[in-house]
Amino acid sequence: MARFLIRRGLTMIALLFAISLVTFLLFIVVLPGGNPASMLAGRLANPSEVQLISHRYGFDQPVYVQYFKTMANIFDGSAYSYQSSFNVDDQIRQGLPTTVSLALGAGIIWLLVSILFGTLAAIRAGRYTDRVLTVLSMVGVSMPPFFLGAVIIFYLGYKTSILPINGYVPFTQSPIQWAYHLIAPWFTLSVLFIGFYSRVLRSTILDTLSEDYVRTARAKGLSPRRVLVHHVLRTSLLPIISLWGLDFAQVIGGGAILTESVYGLHGVGYLAAQSVGKLDTVTLLSIVMLTAIAVVVLQALVDFLYAVLDPRIRLA
């Protein structure tokens, strides 16, 4: 256990360092052709002003100094966007509750529904239910969120007013309104994952069903239900759970750009979309770091869960 935590901690730090370095070099040094100082100073600024700004922000310093300064700013919350002069940390902080709400709800929905669909499809393999679910998941996988979102907003929002058109209500303000406003985004985001996950689960369950130990379980006289839940699902869920960990982390890190934008949710994804438009490198860099941290932490959690669920795997 201690070994796992220490090793994981060290790899996490190493990983984050590598990610930050690569993104820094890409964003700050390579990508935005031209001098950020002249961008900051505006089109009408004269060279001495640019130089002044350059000096103030440290653009005239060696790259590694810039790197450490930027990272230090990002992590102690004192990074400012060059474009908007907003504190980046505050902006992410503002968006985070929305994004976490979206991710949590959608994550739970897509996990549970795909377990249900995947299991059903597997135990009914080759039969009617399986075929229907197969078609459904194909549709789900090929349904882009902006399209699905637009359709939902049009029919359930504008036409019938069953659901709100957009916006976010904090949970602390009104839990009911919070959920009411998030139903459509949750659904939209889930559809994509459900299609994919239930396919994966279906095939792992089918593999597990042909394992010798499942035959043993049946030969012991266990009920089909007990065989399924205790002997098949427990091992079959492992790949789904690790996929889930990664995808969930992605959404937390602003990965649901399309869903957030369609529904006007001002979350991390929305912030990311805007920063891309403005080439706001400091904000983007911060969001990338957030994603990286989320991915690395969730991956560690998934590995831990794996080891709990499968004793053959030793934590290391």
Partner: protein, 348 residues
């Protein structure tokens, strides 16, 4: 004579596959009495496992067609409902499988897997009582420090120990019949000897009937009372151990007996192997299934021989070959020992 413990009559199992109908078992009949070991031998794919598993209803499925009669103590099993079968599986009939490495669930503790079976069949037994019983069972099959080992996972056990756990589990509900499907094939000879000892002791103590599925005639000679030889889904010969080894009636049995390398015999230059390969069950040859590999085949072999008693004074010694007993007794001698044909005459 009293009713046999397990009675299998004219069992037929076929599977619908993408390529066509596979007749995996084609008219198998046998009986198992209390305290008796009946061995089913044959090459892989001959239908041994399917026969054994069908007795427990483990081959049921949408693409399987099962006909015949199987009775256990008078109770019909092939038409029994799924819930009746659940009570029988692991209760009156228990099963031990070929590969002990994969037959236990890797994610549960050994103890929990035994307790699960006990409590499925005896719901009134408390967990603690079931645990106590499991420890006793593990001790009985020779697992040292059984109490501690209850908490181990299967991957922490060697192959031999896992097979003991499977046997302990099978014993947990005092079965009347134990089906052991190649219980020693995946194990070293030393561990095989230990497991066979375990089965012998089990038979003595519980008087359970044992169906032993194997392809190893040496194992059969070691433990069986009666033997059934299967070839391509059909029984080609069945009889007592001695009848089968000392007066074998079917050319396929001769081939099996001849191809064994024996540790106690001089090293002969060549083994009298059976030429060719077993037929595909999708398109089995017409008539006697063994015909394409049989050096003694003649015109009549185009018709399927009945499984009949042909040897005088041996009413339970059945075989499925058109040759007369005299012909058989004269042609089965090859270089002073039983074999299909002279090895040099056989083109491989």
């Amino acid at each position: 004579m009293s009713e046999p413990l397990l009675h299998v009559e004219d069992l037929r199992v076929s599977f619908a596959t993408e390529d066509g109908l596979v007749q995996a078992v084609d008219g198998v009949s046998f009986e198992v009495d209390r305290g008796e070991v009946v061995a089913i031998v044959g090459e892989s794919g001959s239908g041994k496992s399917v026969s054994a598993m069908t007795v427990m209803g483990l081959t049921r499925g949408p693409n399987a067609r099962i006909d015949g009669v199987v009775t256990l103590d008078g109770q019909e099993l092939l038409k029994a409902s799924e819930s009746q079968l659940q009570r029988i599986r692991g209760g009156s009939i228990a099963m031990v499988f070929q590969d002990p490495m994969s037959s236990l669930n890797p994610v549960y503790r050994i103890g929990d897997q035994i307790i699960e079976q006990i409590r499925t069949h005896q719901p009134h037994v408390s967990r603690a009582q079931a645990a106590e019983r499991s420890v006793e069972l593990l001790e009985r099959v020779g697992i040292p420090r059984a109490r501690e080992r209850m908490r181990s996972y299967p991957h922490e056990f060697s192959g031999g120990m896992r097979q003991r756990v499977m046997i302990a589990m099978a014993l947990s509900c005092s079965p009347k019949v134990l089906i052991a499907d190649e219980p020693t094939t995946a194990l070293d000879v030393t561990i095989q000897a230990q497991i066979l000892d375990e089965l012998r002791e089990l038979r003595e103590q519980t008087r359970a009937g044992i169906i032993l599925v194997t392809h190893d005639l040496a194992v059969v000679a070691d433990i069986a009372d009666r033997v059934i030889v299967m070839y391509a889904g059909r029984v080609v010969e069945q009889g007592t151990l001695d009848e089968l080894f000392y007066d074998p009636q079917h050319p396929y049995t001769w081939g099996l007996l001849g191809s064994i390398t024996r540790i106690d015999r001089d090293r002969s230059k060549r083994l009298p192997a059976i030429p060719g390969v077993p037929p595909s069950l999708l398109h089995p040859p017409a008539g006697c299934h063994f015909r394409p590999r049989c050096p003694h085949a003649f015109g009549q072999c185009m018709q399927v021989p009945e499984l009949n008693a042909r040897v005088a004074d041996a009413p339970a010694h059945l075989d499925r070959c058109w040759l007369t007993v005299e012909q058989k007794r004269s042609v089965r001698q090859v270089d002073g020992q039983i074999g299909l044909a002279s090895p040099s005459a056989v083109v491989s």
